[in-house]
Amino acid sequence: MILASAPVIPSFGKPDPCVTQDHAFCWGWVKAHWGDTLQPALLQHLQLAAIAVGIGFAIAFAAGLLAHRRRWLAHPFGIVSALVYTIPSLALFQLLVPFTGIGTATVELALVAYTLVILLPNILAGLDAAGEDVLEAARGVGYTRRQILWRVELPLAVPTIVAGLRIAVVSTISIATIAAFLLPKGLGYPIFLALREPTPFRTEIYSAGALAVLLALAADFALVMLQRGLVPWARRQRA
């Protein structure tokens, strides 16, 4: 039986004075709703971003190798990428809806497009990082073209490619919050819901936003560690 005073934020269970009085941040709410709201949103968010970066990297890598071999492709690839990046993310989601409907596919498609824009130029620049002298020597010692690519150009491209990956991962994690406009998934969704309340519930906005930032930082840190493992030669310069 509901009595006179209905909670200000109706969907969040028992009235908690912190919540009902709309304090700036309610730690109690975060603890209470970690399991049913925040953690699932975090995992969904991670999944959205990981799939987008994974697919984007696979496509960018293949396209990068192709454009590295066939130089004339690099320019059109670059133009298309730049055009895609100028479209605001919210608009891009809406533009795709008529073709792919409202769903995960639409969101992933848009996110993949953004990662491509970042990854492709970095992969191309990375593959060009090997100096003329190194390439001349590589041919001279008897590497075939394929061996030069896999044993010389790609290892030397790693720092540039990882730098691109870091930007792609951080921006994808950020852009993925906007997916909530289409999809009840990810850390954007709690924010989206909180904003729809007559009085936006700040704790929910802050906690979901903070999780998105932490996720981005953690992913970036993981990539820095990966780079250290892959590129031991870049750290050791002449003493």
């Binding site: 020597a137 010692v141 030397l156 590129v231 050791r236």
Partner: protein
């Protein structure tokens, strides 16, 4: 082995016997190969004249042949056609009688050592990995590669502790030694060297030159050496091929023959001045002095000195003979007459 600075009499007359085993340890090596260029032609599209114009040259196994000439004379182009870094437009290149165009380029290059001025070490690989590049391409076992790498670092005078470093941690001279070790790793029959010491300081350069001569006596490879520096050519070559503009040979001769009898005005100008003195610096006094040098009051010169420095001493002391002292203390006499007779 004799003193570092001494020039050997000629190409290594006795290349060591072949050893096919991949795990080549010191002392077993592929015999040096004979390299024949016949009517070699390269004409770049759009160019008025050929870069290399019907070049014919026979380089015996074990010889150091130096290509020298002004920039743009086609010397590097000619060399790069040997390991097919550039495709030729005509003529033949025979390596031990077999045309290099019959070979797959990558396979051919694994049998020809290649050293370039910019070195081109792989920055992402340790020194040991750089040196082991060709053996690992040829599928040698890890232990054999490690053994060979250690041996080569020693051969080029680098401490074993360099093995685990990266190229960026080395000086220019050290890197060039690694470049040379990499080129020698799979025991190539021929070594191509394109201005290998052009980017290092003069002291390091002369040190590397001496070391290469010493190394050549040890491993006895056929070496094709390109430089624009005539002094380097004279210091390094058993034979020198002087190119003129347009990729044609102006003269091919031993350093002594070249300085004694330049073929034409171009060669004369290219050689520069003081030819007689430079010829004298090619010879060691110990090789020519014969008379009795026991007379007192004569200026004394060690046997390893050049004839040029003996002459300098004579002029300085105002005498016409010097005593030559060998390592074992024996003395002999060198006179001004003997010395000028050398130049005839």
């Amino acid at each position: 082995m004799s003193a570092e600075a001494a020039r050997p009499a000629g190409p290594n007359p006795n290349p060591k016997p072949a050893a096919a085993s991949a795990g080549s340890a010191r002392g077993t090596s592929r015999p040096a190969a004979r390299l024949e260029l016949k009517q070699l032609l390269k004409h770049y599209p759009g160019a008025d004249s050929p870069a290399v114009d019907r070049l014919t040259l026979d380089i015996p196994a074990g010889e150091i042949c130096v290509f020298v000439g002004p920039s743009g004379c086609g010397k590097t182009t000619a060399m790069r056609m040997v390991n097919r870094m550039i495709d030729r437009d005509g003529g033949e290149i025979l390596l031990d009688g077999r045309d290099v165009n019959e070979r797959h380029p990558a396979e051919l290059r694994r049998e020809i050592g290649y050293v370039i001025q910019q070195i081109g070490l792989f920055p992402h690989r340790t020194i040991a990995e750089n040196v082991g590049t060709v053996p690992s391409l040829l599928g040698w076992k890890k232990a054999a590669i490690a053994e060979r790498t250690e041996e080569l670092l020693d051969l080029v005078g680098l401490d074993p502790s360099f093995a685990s470093r990266y190229p960026a941690q080395l000086s220019g001279g050290q890197r060039q030694r690694v470049g040379l070790a990499r080129a020698l790793a799979a025991d190539p029959a021929v070594l191509l060297m394109d201005e290998p010491f052009g980017a290092v300081d003069p002291i390091t350069r002369s040190h590397l030159q001496q070391q290469l001569r010493r190394l050549h006596r040890e491993v006895g490879k056929t070496i094709l050496f390109v430089t624009h520096d005539i002094d380097e050519a004279i210091a390094m070559g058993d034979r020198i091929a002087i190119f003129r503009q347009g990729g044609a040979l102006a003269q091919t001769a031993t350093p002594d023959e070249l300085l004694a009898a330049p073929a034409d005005e171009f060669v004369e100008r290219f050689l520069g001045e003081d030819r007689a003195l430079r010829r004298l610096s090619l010879r060691r006094v110990g090789d020519i002095a014969s008379g009795d040098g026991t007379a007192p009051d004569l200026p004394v010169v060690p046997a390893s000195a050049t004839v040029r420095s003996a002459l300098s001493l004579m002029i300085e002391a105002g005498v016409d003979s010097v005593a030559i002292v060998r390592d074992d203390g024996r003395r002999s006499l060198l006179t001004l007459g003997e010395l000028t007779a050398l130049l005839r």
